[in-house]
């Protein structure tokens, strides 16, 4: 479904990602873990089109999407969330979602009045309910709590009905309760999309993932199901053994 082949990217002398292979099957959760600076976010930036790789290929549903601009990649069915909450803070929750749902409508209809644009509107209201934001639908997104904002960000991603969902540290800055809710959310989303997850909360990763990839200094250190990764000595040495709090 989604494959990354021999992906490399360097910034000057820094090899951020080196010869990386990834495979994300449909309806599964694949997690990427690793210490800060391991190249995890660079991988997301390469996949979502924010950066162009130096070499290698990104294959999505048998289509080579390497070097495509972000808006094309999104329209093909890859949605991403951001490590630092990246929503439309000055718009309402509903507007945030409608912007994402209306994106799949034909552009030639974009000058019709909003109130006749029913389908995206309905879909947005539906999402508001699904993500438990119904009572905050008319609130300016900037006024939401941090946890609600993180949830809205995932809702925005789901609004474009993606096939592959890239989640960049969804629990960043969340309380333990909110993290638990996110855990359940990811498990339920798995029924709809394939998920590639970057996360520092190891318990969450081990709980939701079908496959875990450990990155270290731009390279893949290990790959396997959660149990296997937990037992892997190299991984423990490089990452799991140390308490590595994210900033």
């Amino acid at each position: 479904m989604f494959r990354v082949v021999a992906l490399s990217k360097s910034f000057g002398a820094l090899q951020a990602v080196q010869d990386l292979y990834l495979d994300v099957p449909a309806n599964s959760v694949t997690s990427i873990i690793g210490p800060n600076g391991a190249g995890k976010s660079t991988v997301f930036n390469l996949i979502s089109g924010a950066l162009t790789p130096d070499s290698g290929a990104i294959m999505f549903q048998d289509l080579d999407i390497t070097g495509y601009p972000p808006y094309v990649i999104n329209r093909l069915g890859v949605a991403r969330s951001f490590q630092i909450t990246n929503i439309f803070f000055g718009l309402t929750v509903l507007e945030n979602l409608r912007l994402a749902t209306q994106s799949s409508e034909p552009r030639r209809q974009f000058l019709r009045p909003l109130r006749r644009f029913r389908r995206p509107q309905q879909r947005a209201s539906q999402l508001v309910a699904e993500f438990g934001l119904a009572d905050r639908a008319e609130e300016i997104a900037g006024n939401l709590s941090h946890g609600d904002q993180r949830r809205l960000e995932i809702a925005i991603c789901m609004a474009s009905a993606p096939i592959l969902l890239l989640l960049d540290e969804p629990t960043q800055g969340m309380s333990p309760t909110e993290t638990m809710e996110t855990d359940e959310l990811i498990k339920s989303l798995k029924r709809q999309v394939a998920i590639l997850l970057i996360e520092h909360d190891i318990d969450l990763v081990m709980g939701v993932s079908d496959n875990v990839i450990v990155m270290h200094q731009g390279r893949k250190l290990a790959e396997g199901p959660p149990d296997e990764i937990r037992r892997n000595a190299t991984v423990q040495d490089a990452y799991l053994g140390r308490a590595d709090a994210d900033t």
């Binding site: 979502s48 089109g49 601009p69 972000p70 808006y71 999104n74 329209r75 949605a79 991403r80 951001f82 990246n86 929503i87 439309f88 803070f89 000055g90 718009l91 309402t92 507007e95 409608r98 912007l99 994402a100 209306q102 994106s103 799949s104 409508e105 209809q109 974009f110 000058l111 019709r112 009045p113 909003l114 644009f117 995206p120 008319e138 300016i140 900037g142 925005i156 474009s160």
Partner: protein, 355 residues
């Protein structure tokens, strides 16, 4: 002295660039926040009605001088609106909208003088020419951001200013004189004679009202929502599947039309057009209008156009240093009240509501 005044204005512009985003965000929140019985939509509607009512009765209360000043205020308000919607609704600080105002004015002057007396033909010519020009210039300038966008758009308008100043066929520094004011026919229903100041006034008001509703209508579409998303968080927009380039370009071209149509009517008032119309002074004046009126609504720049034009006329009858006063007002508004007169009015109205 003018140098000093310009200095003050330029410093104000830079200051505005830094302060605006956060202040605008606050202003917009206030305007769009549902509260009490007075919703944002009804709030802007009330203010719009007051403004239109004031504009409609004005000619009944004042003499010819002020009617003509009112026409000027409306048309310069159109220019301010062109700058204001780009800044307030797309997040682009353009210092070059005056280019389209000027091009509209020059095309109108040349055609009315030498080719046709038909307003509609000239309008079509202006719209077509300015669309093409704005598409080309826009495709270049909107690739830049923030202060670079401001400066490169200023550069383009300065180039056009110098072209107008140095081209003999366009009258050089004298400009073009003796432009006849046309009669505008409305398909057999009747006609408006622009030689009559009263008729001209209501015609200009009609043009501005049409532009105002057209903009409101465009902003209330999915296209308008994408523009507000671009203003709010441009980096995020591509990840929703939109190519911001086309949305920005279309908005830029549309804003250019607003300036051009206002500019096209402008020379018919006095019968002449001069390169001064394209100068940086006109730019700063239009920016001051937009800011003083307020950028969080479509109405703001138009209100600013009225206030600044009348104030400027008053001040210049008292002192030659009216530009300095303009600059000071501009700076005071940017620093103390970035959401402009509309923001002040909105606060007044909502406060009364709460009591």
């Amino acid at each position: 002295m003018t140098k000093l005044a310009q200095n003050v204005v330029v410093k104000g512009v830079i200051r505005a660039g830094g302060l605006l985003p956060s202040a605008l965000c606050r202003a917009r929140k206030m305007l769009s926040m549902p509260r009490g019985g007075l919703q944002a939509a009804s709030l802007t509607r009330i203010m719009g009605l007051i403004a239109v009512a004031a504009a409609v009765v004005l000619p009944l209360l004042v003499g010819q001088f002020y009617i003509r000043l009112g026409i000027e205020a409306l048309l310069l308000g159109g220019l301010a609106l062109s700058t204001g919607i780009l800044l307030g609704f797309v997040g682009l600080l353009s210092l070059g909208q005056v280019a389209y105002f000027g091009v509209g004015a020059y095309i109108s002057a040349l055609l009315f003088l030498q080719a046709t007396g038909s307003f509609w033909l000239v309008l079509a010519a202006v719209v077509i020419c300015v669309s093409a020009l704005a598409a080309v210039i826009g495709a270049i300038v909107i690739r830049t951001r923030g202060v670079y966008f401001a400066l490169i758009s200023l550069a383009f308008s300065e180039v056009l200013h110098k072209i107008a100043f140095n081209t003999v066929a366009l009258g050089g520094s004298d400009g073009i004189l003796g432009i006849p004011a046309p009669r505008i026919g409305f398909a057999g229903i009747g006609q408006i004679d622009l030689r009559d100041d009263g008729q001209f006034y209501y015609f200009a008001l009609g043009v501005i009202v049409v532009i105002y509703f057209a903009i409101r209508r465009i902003l209330a579409t999915p296209f308008g929502s994408v523009l507000s998303a671009i203003r709010d968080n441009p980096e995020r927009v591509p990840y929703l599947g939109y190519n911001p380039f086309w949305f920005r370009l279309l908005a830029y071209v549309a804003a250019a039309q607003v300036a051009a149509v206002s500019g096209m009517v402008f020379p018919l008032l006095r019968g002449y057009v001069s390169p001064d119309l394209l100068s940086f002074e006109t730019t700063t004046r239009s920016l001051a209008m937009a800011l003083v009126g307020g950028l969080s609504s479509v109405l703001g720049p138009l209100v600013g156009g009225g206030v600044i034009t009348f104030m400027d006329s008053l001040v210049s009858s008292l002192t030659e240093r009216h530009l300095l006063v303009l600059g000071l007002i501009f700076v005071i508004f940017v620093m103390t009240c970035p959401d402009g007169l509309i923001g002040i009015a909105a606060r007044r109205l909502t406060r009364r509501e709460r009591k």
